[in-house]
Amino acid sequence: MNAKTTAFFAYCSLLVACGTTTTHAVLTGVPGAPRGGEVQVIMGDAPPPADLKEVGIVQAVGHGTNADLEHVMMGLKEKALSLGCTVIAKVKIDQGASTASGTGLCMRP
């Protein structure tokens, strides 16, 4: 196997294994200390709990092999935990061909 063939297979395996999830946040309140554990997810237009404080809007974008519901929800939860949130309300998932995006409202006690 020469160098060119090796590079070809390396490139193709890179494309096959290509999957990334990026997370973003816009703070509209004060974040808490990063925490672990579970995050409650409230989908769509269901009202958020009244006793919680608003922290901000979080977004997770999955690309390539990560462009699916599982990876986007995982990204949203990880971002919420890093901001000290216990609930992600108003969660919405938008699916594309090679990209998926999820947004939600991050809230904490």
Binding site: K4, T22, I57, Q59, H63, G96, A97, S101
Partner: protein, 187 residues
């Protein structure tokens, strides 16, 4: 809509996933190809605002003074209009400052986000790129036309602009000039 102008450069990981090449698999030229692609793509941000009520006054608010919430509107706030900000190939972090800017342009100091969403569309575009085609002894640069199909993600923030009620001023002291009384501090 023009996609050529760059506001912020996109990250390399994004590009690997979004682009399907219209040329044969050319691993040796991947580096040069990525550089060309990075120069051609990046988040584009745009915002719009429509007044639905007559502004209280024409005072311009600095966008940094605009407070934003996705939950509640302050008591007594006056509605000014509809505000939208969207970004192509960007995130909410790119669109949010534009949202605040549009609120400020309507004279508002508070923005209520009603919805955040992303839409996707596939577009085909053609561009010319250059690459090394010579040998080590006689280097040359060639050009070729590449047609690529790209999925564009448009993230939109839509909401309303408000002017918050003015903070009530403290009543004037009965004895002007006297030393102010301090409120008792709870122990």
């Amino acid at each position: 809509m023009v996609y050529g102008e760059l506001a912020v450069l996109g990250s390399e990981t994004h590009m690997l996933n979004r682009v399907s090449f219209g040329v044969p698999c050319l691993p040796m030229r991947l580096g040069g190809l990525l550089l060309v692609m990075l120069g051609a793509c990046g988040p584009q941000v745009e915002g719009h605002a429509v007044a639905t009520h007559t502004p209280v006054d024409a005072a311009h608010i600095d966008a940094s003074q605009v407070r934003v919430s996705a939950v509640a509107i302050p008591v007594g706030a006056t509605e000014l209009g509809i505000v939208q900000a969207h970004t192509v190939q960007g995130s909410i972090e790119d669109a949010a400052p534009e949202f605040a800017k549009q609120v400020a342009l309507l004279g508002g100091d508070f923005g209520k986000i009603n919805d955040v969403g992303t839409k996707f569309e596939m577009t085909t575009r053609t561009r010319t790129e250059s690459y090394s085609c010579g040998t080590s002894t006689s280097p040359r640069t060639c050009t070729r036309t590449v047609t690529e199909t790209v999925e564009l993600a448009t993230t939109r923030i839509i909401g309303m602009a408000y002017r918050m009620a003015p903070t009530p001023k403290a009543p004037p002291s009965a004895q002007e000039g006297s030393s102010p009384k301090r409120a008792p501090i709870a122990q």
